[in-house]
Symmetry: C2
Subunit: 335 residues, 2 copies
């Protein structure tokens, strides 16, 4: 989708080092730099072209302008055995989500299942990196993030966040990586479609007059992205709010409109399947093998991501827009 | 949707007593009769016209024919503190789900969050009654059920269950009751639409030739109901399988086609929000009040169900198809 733009190659290790350096210069400590670099690398390997390295200049700028706290001190606000709530101290969503992911793994080791929530946080970039981290360590995590009011349902204007959500599992032979919002399309995908001059199905959203449109640009320019499956996607996005901002007492609905930063609440539910079933990993493969027996061409969530990663690792470099790479190098000098 | 059919009135207490008697005559013990009657009453109050009292003759027949075990003895297969797995002994899904719901509440009392799974079970009727039971007791439950291979995605034939799922929450002033499958439409709703001669959006499913159709009857007759939002609903239905049959080592994918009964696995995740946040109930109201401030006509999941219940309680009776009531009374005599 970025095909028309001039691309630059950058070696894997160089991109990793560039991301690390940028965050280090923006004031994050080394441990946090490692975590947030891991998050940006994982998302960029997916090859999506949004919610990845393309969001990096914005993050650095927000840290520079003190919109996001570069030295967050997460504080535990409440805990009840396997359920805990933290304050994210207006830190980067990536650092806060890395923290709750690892914390939830520890609690799942003790209790089989856990939920850890963090409020007063910022955008987490994507669901994928955190749940992938859990899957690699043999956990099954579901991550939920509240979001600004950004999605409508039926005839409504925007009434709720679009419910960012994801999970991942790993078998011996198959991986699943699932990262969605509850609208038919994320803003990132709408932008990509608009840029590529592609149409979208008329039920994906409405224009600023409230009419159905196939033009993603019209949805973006004062229009309304719609919940997938109408009341279904709407109810799922409400669930995301219940499990995040409602549960953790974060910023709810209209409160989010009054602030620029720190409006996000994230929650992660982590299971330790081996605690109850030795065959879990084999069963993961079995489900996917069976579905592929029925329909060999079946696309499994994560196929594109892992295909992209494999290709990048084989080539040894990423290809990103030249303008983005220039901007990142410029930021490195500026900081 | 049942408007053209002749309707019979039956007093609330009489329907309750009729359901109880039918299950008692079918051999269930008194405790199980109370639970399954509660499940059928709760779903029938919703006024949906499917996945409720209309499924009762089928349940009774399956018990009569010993397809479903009327005296199930649930056995704990595995447990790891707040996560437990049971064998449902081919009992009614309603009894098994009532059991895991109450068990998960106990574990949530101890640990804040819990997951209880039961395999070798049967259809649970609907997600709503169990999560409503939890919400009334101030828990937040999410219930998941595996299902027979019944849904396709994109160009595929049916490859996976349609991922029955639900949750409920109660505020002081607002209730939310969410009960869906991950296809655009459940089979029950497709039947109701077909019976009413209504069309459905062309993206809801395909006919037996694999072509898009607006005729729900064509989707039902050898056609394919499609996952909502394509890969999104598909990935969500996979999640339901991971949390149920994969986790609990129940019947997976093609195994389900080899058996008639006991193919279902159910799981419930239960949270005790008050364990970490005293404002939870107020926050529930706040989210809904805020959304209604933005758009007063907003329909909240559960509005129809609770509207129907209020109306039935005010009238003091249910109205169901005469043919159904006749059939139930006939079954009562037969047993």
């Amino acid at each position: 989708m970025k095909g028309e733009k001039k691309l630059s190659k950058i070696k894997i290790s160089e991109l990793e080092s560039l991301i690390f350096t940028l965050f280090e210069k923006a004031g994050l400590n080394k441990g946090h730099c490692q975590q947030i670099t891991d998050v940006f690398m994982r998302t960029t390997y997916r090859g999506v072209g949004h919610h990845d390295i393309y969001s990096l200049p914005g993050r650095i700028t927000n840290l520079q302008k003190d919109k996001i706290n570069n030295s967050p001190d997460m504080k535990k606000l409440a805990g009840f055995n396997s359920m805990e709530v933290y304050d994210g101290d207006n830190g980067p969503g990536e650092i806060n989500c890395y923290f709750i992911t690892e914390r939830s793994q520890k609690l799942a080791d003790q209790n089989g299942i856990s939920l850890v929530s963090i409020k007063n946080s910022n955008h987490f970039l994507a669901a994928a990196p955190y749940v992938e981290l859990s899957a690699e360590r043999d956990y099954l995590s579901l991550i939920f993030s509240s979001a600004g009011i950004s999605m409508g349902v039926g005839e409504s204007p925007k009434v709720i966040g679009n419910g960012p959500f994801g999970y991942a599992v790993q078998g011996q032979n198959h991986n699943v990586l699932f990262d969605i919002c509850m609208a038919y399309s994320s803003y990132g995908k709408l932008h990509a479609k608009a840029e590529a001059g592609e149409k979208v199905p008329s039920y994906w959203g409405k224009d600023s007059e409230g009419n159905s449109t196939e033009d993603p640009a019209e949805i973006l320019e004062g229009g309304i992205p719609l919940a997938m499956g109408a009341h279904k996607g709407f109810g799922l996005s409400m669930m995301v709010e219940f499990i995040t901002s409602i549960l953790a007492d974060g910023d709810i609905a209209l409160e989010k409109n009054k602030k620029n930063t720190g409006i996000y609440t994230h929650s992660i539910i982590t299971l330790k399947p081996e605690g109850v079933n030795d065959s879990y990993v084999n069963n993961v493969d079995k489900l996917i093998d069976d579905m592929k027996t029925i329909y060999p061409d079946l696309h499994i969530p994560g196929d594109s991501s892992y295909g992209s990663k494999k290709e990048i690792e084989k080539k040894g470099y990423f290809e990103i827009e030249k303008s983005l790479l220039d901007r990142l190098l410029e930021l490195k000098e500026d900081l």
